[in-house]
Symmetry: D3
Subunit: 332 residues, 6 copies
C-alpha cells in the first residue's frame, strides 16, 4: 500500500468515500447461489460499524478470500464505502494483514471491537470521583481506590459479560458506573427512611460493593480479537469468588476491620442472590440487598433495550427467543 | 369516669403519669402460673405503643377481664403508666368500652392501629404534587389524579399488605410514594442512557404505573379493628386484576389513547413478574420492568429492616423463620 | 379465465378431474435437486385437502412462481387433480390471484382454512339450545345468550387456540361445545352425589362457565389468511382477563347478583388452574373445578388424537417432540 | 349387662333415649381444667355418629377411664343419649369391652367405622352389571369379573385412600364406581368424536381400566380398628405396581392377548400421570388418559366438598391448611 | 469374491494392507461439493474401528452407492486400508451384502457393533464367581444364579442403555460388574462401621441387588443391527418394573422368604431414586441406598470420560451440550 | 466435696455404684404433674451416656434446680447410678459447678459431648499415613500434611456438621476418613478402567480432595459447650469457600503448580454438586466427581442408620419427619 491515503474509521466513512482502514474480519461463510455456484459472505468491522457483503466466484479476491482470509484476524484495507439495499458494504481495492508497523499509524485491535457509547477514560475518572466523595470510610476508600488504579488499563476495556448484557469493550465500566449511581440513590434514600437500623445502613459499604461487585470479571474473562472467552479459573471458580479473592488480596495491603471485610466479601459473593445464578449465599445485609437489585435492574433493562433495538420481526411483540426468554411489546 | 382527667396518647405517657386513654385490646390469653393458678395476660395498644401485662386471679379486674373484655374492642382506660423489667405496663384505675360520645373527645379507632411513621396527609399531598409535575401526558395525569382524589379517604388509611410489608395504616401511601420516587430516578436515568429506544421510555407512564401499581388493594383488602382481611373478591380475583378494573372504569370517564391504556393495564397486572406471585404476564414494556423492580426492592428492604428490628435471638444471624425465609446478618 | 368451467372444492375432486378452484397458497420453498438445480416446492389448500408438488426449473410456471406467487395469498386455479406416489397433486392450467368479483362466484377465504369437521351453524344452534335448557338462572341465561348472539359471526369462525389444540376454523365452537357437554354430565352427577353442599352445586353457573371459559379468545386472537396471530392486547393481557372483561361489560347491561358475577369472573380467570399456565388464582369453587377438568381433558385428548394421526415414524411409540412432550403408544 | 335392653345404633338414638350400643373408643385425651384439675376427654363412635365428652375427676368412671379404657378398642355401652351445647354426648350407665358372644348380638367392628353413604352390596352389584354390559371384549370381561368376585369381601370394605379422599369403609367402591361412570361417559363421547383413531378408542379397555385402576389398594392398605395403615409391601412397592401384579397373576388364569394385557398394565401404573405422584410413566394411550382424568376429578371434587363441609372458620374463604393446600370459597 | 483372500478385522488392519472384511454400513449422507456437485459420505465399521470416506460422483461405486447401499446392512468388502489426513479410510475393491454362507467364514453381526473393551465371557464368569462367593444367603444365591444362567446369551450382548452410558455390546455386563464391585466395597465397609444396625446390613442382598438392578433391560431394549430400540413393553412399563417381574417370576421357582423378596423387589424399583428418573419409591433400605449410589457414580463417571474422550472443541472446557449438560474441564 | 470419692465416667457406672462425675447439664424443662404440680425434668450427660430424670417439688434440690442449675453448664456431681423403667437415672448426693481446679482432676468439657465411636488420635494418625502413602505428588502431599498438622488439635474435635450427620466430636475425622477410603477405592478402580483418560485420573488429587473437601468447617463452625454454632463468617461465606481459602493461604507457603491448585480449589467448592446445596459450580473434573459421590453416600448412609437407630414408632416404616424427609423400612 505505497500511495498515501488517509486512514479513517469505518464508522466515519461517507458513501462513496475511499480510505485506508484497520478492520477486524468478523465472519466468513461459504454459501451457494440459487444457481448452485459457491460464494463467500464476509464481514468486517471496527468499533462502530460492521459491513457484510459477498465475494463472488469471479471476484479478483475470490482465491485469496477462500485460502487466506481468516475470521478473527485484522486487516489493513483500502476500500470505497457504499450503502446498498443490502446494507452498508465496501469495495475492496487493497487488503493485507496488519503488521507491527501499523501500530505507529494508529492500529489498536480493541478499536475494532464493539465499544461502550461512553468514553472509558471519562467513566473511569467519574468512578474515582465517586470513590473519593462517597466512600467516607477511609480504609474502605483506600482499598477500592487501589483496586481500581492497579487494574486501570484492563478496566477500561473489559466487557460486563460474555453475551447477556453490556458485552462490549468498557461494558464493565458502563454497567458498574450505572449500578453505582443507582446504589447511591437507594442508599441515601433508605438510610434516611430506616434511620433506626442498628448498625445503620453503611453507605460507604454500599458504594464500595457496587463498584466491586463484578471486579472478578478481571479474572473470569479474557478478551481476544475474536471475542471474549472464559479463562480456566473463570470456568472452574467463577467471578463471584474471584472478585472476593481480589478484595482479600488487596486487604492484605490495605487492611480493613474484620467485620467490614466480611461484609464486603459477602456482598460480592451474594450479589447474584439465587444459587442457580451462582451465589452460594443470598444477600444477608441491607447493603448486599441494594447492590443485588441495582445490578439486576441494570442488566435486565439493558437486555430489554437490546431486544427492542435488534428485533426485526413482524407483529406487536418480539419472539421469545432472546436473552430474557419472553416476548417484549414493541407497540402497534 | 366522672372526674376530669386529661386524655393522652399511650405512646406519649411518661413513667408514673396518670391519664385517660383510648386503647384497643390487642390480645388476651389464659395462662397458668408455676403453681397451677390460672391468670390472664392482656395487651392494649394505640398507634405508637403496646403494653402487655398480667391480670392475676386476685386482681379487682379478674372477673371483668374473664367475662367481658374482648380482643379487638376499644376501651377508655384511666391508668398509671409504668416501665418494668417485663416491659411497659399500666395500672388500670377505670375501664369501660368506648361509646359514641367519645368521638367528640377525639376517639378515632384508626389511631389505635399501627401507623406509618409519616404523616398521611402530607404523603398524599406529595403524591399529588408528583402527579402534577411528573406526568406530563395530560390524559394520563387526569386519570391518575381522579383515582387518587376519588379514593382519598381510604388511601390515607389502607396498609400495603396484610402481613409481609408495610402492614400498617397508611402503609399503601408510604410504600407507593417510595416506589414512585425510585421509579422517577430510574426513568430519568434510563431515558437518558437509552435515548435511541423507539418509542422512547415513557416517563409519564412509568410514574403513573408506580402510583397505580397497587391501587387494587382498595378492593382486595378490608380493614377491621382487629386486623386487615381479604374481601371475597380480593380472594377470588386479586388486587392485580382489581387495580386494572379501577383503571378501566376510570378511563371510561377520563379516556386514554388505546395504546396508553393497554400499556398501563399491562403494567399493573405484570408488576409482580412471576406467575407464582400472581402475575399472568411478565413485564413486557420498559416501564413495567422499572415499576416491578422499584416495588420489589422497596418491599424486600422493608422486610429486612423489620426482621432486624424484631430479632431477639442470640448469635450473629437471625433465624430463617421470617418473611424472607433466610438468615439476616446482625453483626457481631 | 374466459371459458366457463365448473367451480369445485379441491377436497371434492376426483383423480383426473379438471375444474376451477379457489385455493390458498399454503407454502413455497426453494430447494435444490440432487444434480444441484434449484426448484420450488409449493403447497395449495382449501378447507379439506392440501396438495404439495414441485415446480421444476423448466416448468412454464417457473418464473411466475419464483417472482409472484406468495404464500398466504388466494388464487383462482384451473387444474387437473392427480393422485401420485408422492401424494395428491395438481397440474395447473391457469392461475391468477382472486379478485373482488370472485366473491360472487363463491370465494370465501375462510373456506380455504382447515375447518372443524362439524357444521358451525349447527354447533352454534346446539349451544344456544343448551343455554336455554340448562341455565335455569334467568339472569345468567340472559347474559350468556347475549354474549353468544352479539358475537355470533366471529364465534362461528375462531379457532380454540393458535397451535396446541382445535387450531382450525370453528375450533372454539367444537371445543367449547364438547367442554360444555362434559360439564353438564359432571355437574348433574356431583350435584346428586354431594347434595349436602351448602350452597348447592350451581349447575347454571357450571354450564355458563363452560360456555364462557374461553370467550376471551375473541379479543386475544386475530385470524388472518396466513394464520392466527395474537393481538397486542392478547399478548399483554391474555384471554383469561379479556374473557372476564366481556362478562363484566355485558353484566352492565344484563345485571347479575354480585355473588353470581364474582363466581363467574373467578371461574374464567381460574380455569387454567396453574399460575404457569396463566391463571392468577386456582379454582376455588366447585363449578370452577369442574370446568377446569372438562377443559383440560378435552384439550389433552385432542392433542393425543392429533399426535397419533400425524405420526409417521417407525416403532411402537411416537417421538417426544409433540404438543404433549411425551411418547404416545401406537400399538404394534 | 344382665337386664335386657334394646341394642341400638348410636346414629339412630334420640335425645333422652337409653339403649345398649356397640361403640369404638375413638379418642382419649388427658386435660386440665382452668382450676388445674386433671380430667379426660373421651370419644366414642359408630359408623354414623361420634360423641365426645369429659370424664371429670369425680366421675364414677374416672379410675376405669384412666386405667383401662383404650382408644381403638370396642365397648358395649349402656347409656342415655343427650344433645348439649357442646354437641352430642352420652351418660354412661354400664360399659365393658366387647366379647366374642357379642357377634351373635350383631356386633361388627366395621359398622363402627365411618362408612360410605351408599350401600356397598348395591354398589358392588352395579359394578358387576357394568362389567357385563360395557366390557364387550370377552377375555377382558372374564379377567375383571374374576378379580372382583375373588376379592368381593374385601372390596366391600376398603377405603379409597388413607387420608386424602374417600377415606372410609367402602370408599374404594364409591370412588371406583364414580370414576367408572365418568369413563363410560367420556369413552362413548370421544369414540364418536374421534372415530378415525386407529386402533379405535377401546371402550372395553377404558372401562376395565377404570374399575381396576386402584385395585392395588387391596395389597397396599390394611384396615385396623383404629385406622387404615400401609402394609410393608404397600410402603415399599405401592398400589400402582401391586395393582398391575393382580392383573398379571389373574391373566395367568384368564389369559389376555399380549397387547391387551400390556395396555391394561400400562393404564394402571400410569393413572397418576406425574412421576412425583408415583407413576413411572405418563398415560401413553387414549384409554389411560381418560382414566387418569376421571380419577383425578373425582378425588379433587371429593376433597373440595370435604373441605367445605368441615370448615368452621370465619370469612368468605377457608384456610389453606387442607388436602388441596389452597383456599376454597364458601360464599358470603 | 472368488479369489481367496484372508478375512481380517478392520480394527486389525495396517496401512496399505488388503483383506476381506465383514463390515456394517454405519452411515450414508448425501452432500454437495463446493462446486455444487453431489456426492456421498459413507461409513463402515466393525466392533473396534470405523472408517468414513467420500464416494465421488465419478467413483465406480457411485451408482451402486446411491441406489443400493443401505445403512444398517452388513457387507463383505475387499479393500485396502489407508490412514489419511481425514482419518482412516478404505479403497473398496469388491463389495456385496453378506449371505448365509458367510456365517461359516466367521461373520457375526454383533462383532460389527461397538463392544465393551472387556471380554464378555470372562466378565460373565467373574460375575458368577461373585455370586457364589459373596451371596451367602442360599435362596438368594440360587435365584440370582438361575436368572444369570437362563439369560446368559443375551446378557453377553446387551448394552447398559440406549444412549447415555455403556451404550455398546456387553455394556450391561461391564456396567453391572463395576457396580457390583463397588457395592461389595461399600457393603463390607458400612457393615463394619454400623454393626449395631438391626437387622444388620445384608451383604447378600446388596450384592444380589447390584447384579439384578438393571436386569429389566433384557425386556426393555431390543438390539437391532442399526441400533438399540425400546420394545413396546419397555416404553409402556420400563425396565425397573420389568426387572422386578423377572425376579418375581423366578422366585416362583426358586422361592425366597417374603421379606427377602420384598426387599429385593424394592431395591430394583427404587434404584433410580428420583421419581423423575422413573423410580416410584426412593431407596428405603440401606442395601437399596448403596446400589443406587454405586450405579449413579458408575454411570456418571462413564459419561464424563466419554465427554472428555469425544470433545474436539477449543478452550479449557468442553461445551455444555453433552450427556451431563454441563461443562467439563479438559486442562490447559 | 471433701470426702475422697473415685472419679468415674457416667458411661462406665454400674447400677447401684456411687461416684463423683463431671457432667454437662444437657436439658432442663419445667412441667406439670397430672395433679397440677410443677416439677422439673433435667438431663445430664458425658460423652457416652445421658440420664434424664425428674426433680420433684419436694426434692431437696428443688430450689437449687429452679434457681441455679443452667443447661450448658458443667457440674461435679456425686451420685448413685440406677437403671429404672424410665431409663437410666441418678440420685444426686452432692452437686456444684466445676471450677478451674477440676481440670487437674481430669475435667475436660469435650469429654462430656457426644463422641465418635473411634479414637480421634488413631484416626488422625491413619489419615496422615494415607497422606504419606497415597498422595504421590510431593507438592500436594506437603500442602495437605501442613494443613492437617497445623490444625491437629481442632481437627481432633470438630463435628462434620451441625445437625445432619456426624454431628458429634471428631465427626469431621470419622466422616473424612471414611470418604477418603472410598475415594481411594474408586480412584484406583476408575484409573484402571479408563486408562486412556488424558490427563489421566489424578489419584493424588482425588485423595487430597477427599481429605480437604470439608476443611472449611474449621472456620464455619464453632464448638461451644451447649452445641455447635455457625461463626459469622461461616454464615456469610460458608465452608466451601472457606476451605478453598485455607488451601490458597497454605499454597502461599507450600506452592502448587497453577493447574494443580486450580483443580484442588475447584474440587472443594464443587463437592456439594448442586447450587441449592451451596456449590457455585458442579464437579467439572473426574476427581471432583468422585469426591462428591464418596461424600454424599457417606452422609446419606449415616443419616439412614441414625434414623433407624432412633425410630421408636410402630409399623414397618419410620415416619417421614427425619433428615432424609422420607420413610425408611424397618422390617416386619
Amino acid at each position: 500500500m505505497p500511495a498515501t491515503m488517509p486512514i479513517a474509521a469505518l464508522s466515519d466513512m461517507l458513501p462513496g468515500q475511499e480510505a485506508d482502514m484497520f478492520l477486524l474480519m468478523s465472519s466468513k461463510e461459504q454459501l451457494t447461489t440459487r444457481e448452485g455456484k459457491p460464494y463467500y459472505r464476509v464481514g468486517f468491522r471496527d468499533g462502530g460499524r460492521e459491513v457484510v457483503f459477498p465475494i463472488w466466484d469471479n471476484s479478483p479476491w475470490a482465491a485469496e478470500c477462500r485460502d487466506k482470509w481468516t475470521p478473527g484476524a485484522f486487516y489493513k484495507i483500502r476500500a470505497v464505502y457504499r450503502e446498498t439495499n443490502y446494507g452498508p458494504q465496501i469495495d475492496i481495492r487493497k487488503i493485507r494483514e496488519v503488521c507491527d508497523a501499523d501500530t505507529a499509524d494508529g492500529f489498536d485491535p480493541t478499536l475494532c471491537l464493539p465499544q461502550s457509547r461512553y468514553n472509558p477514560q471519562r467513566m473511569f475518572e467519574e468512578m474515582l470521583a465517586i470513590v473519593r466523595e462517597r466512600i467516607t470510610d477511609a480504609a474502605l476508600r483506600a482499598l477500592v481506590e487501589k483496586i481500581l488504579i492497579d487494574n486501570r488499563d484492563e478496566l477500561l476495556r473489559i466487557p460486563a459479560a460474555r453475551h447477556n448484557h453490556h458485552a462490549f469493550a468498557a461494558g464493565w465500566l458502563e454497567h458498574t458506573l450505572s449500578v453505582t449511581r443507582t446504589v447511591i440513590y437507594l442508599a441515601d434514600k433508605y438510610a434516611e427512611y430506616y434511620d433506626e437500623l442498628e448498625p445503620p445502613l453503611d453507605k460507604s459499604m454500599a458504594v464500595a460493593g457496587a463498584i466491586l461487585h463484578d471486579i472478578g470479571k478481571l479474572r473470569e474473562l479474557e478478551q481476544r480479537p475474536d471475542g471474549t472467552v472464559y479463562t480456566a479459573s473463570g470456568a472452574l471458580i467463577g467471578h463471584l469468588l474471584q472478585g472476593r479473592d481480589i478484595v482479600r488480596e488487596t486487604a492484605a495491603i490495605c487492611p480493613l476491620p474484620p467485620d467490614t471485610l466480611l461484609r464486603l466479601e459477602h456482598l460480592i459473593i451474594a450479589h447474584q442472590r439465587l444459587p442457580e445464578w451462582g451465589s452460594p449465599k443470598p444477600p444477608m445485609t441491607p447493603e448486599a440487598l441494594l447492590v443485588h437489585y441495582a445490578d439486576d435492574i441494570d442488566a435486565k433493562f439493558h437486555m430489554m433495550a437490546e431486544i427492542l433495538r435488534n428485533d426485526t420481526g413482524e407483529g406487536p411483540v418480539t419472539s421469545k427467543k432472546n436473552a430474557l426468554a419472553q416476548q417484549i411489546y414493541k407497540g402497534e
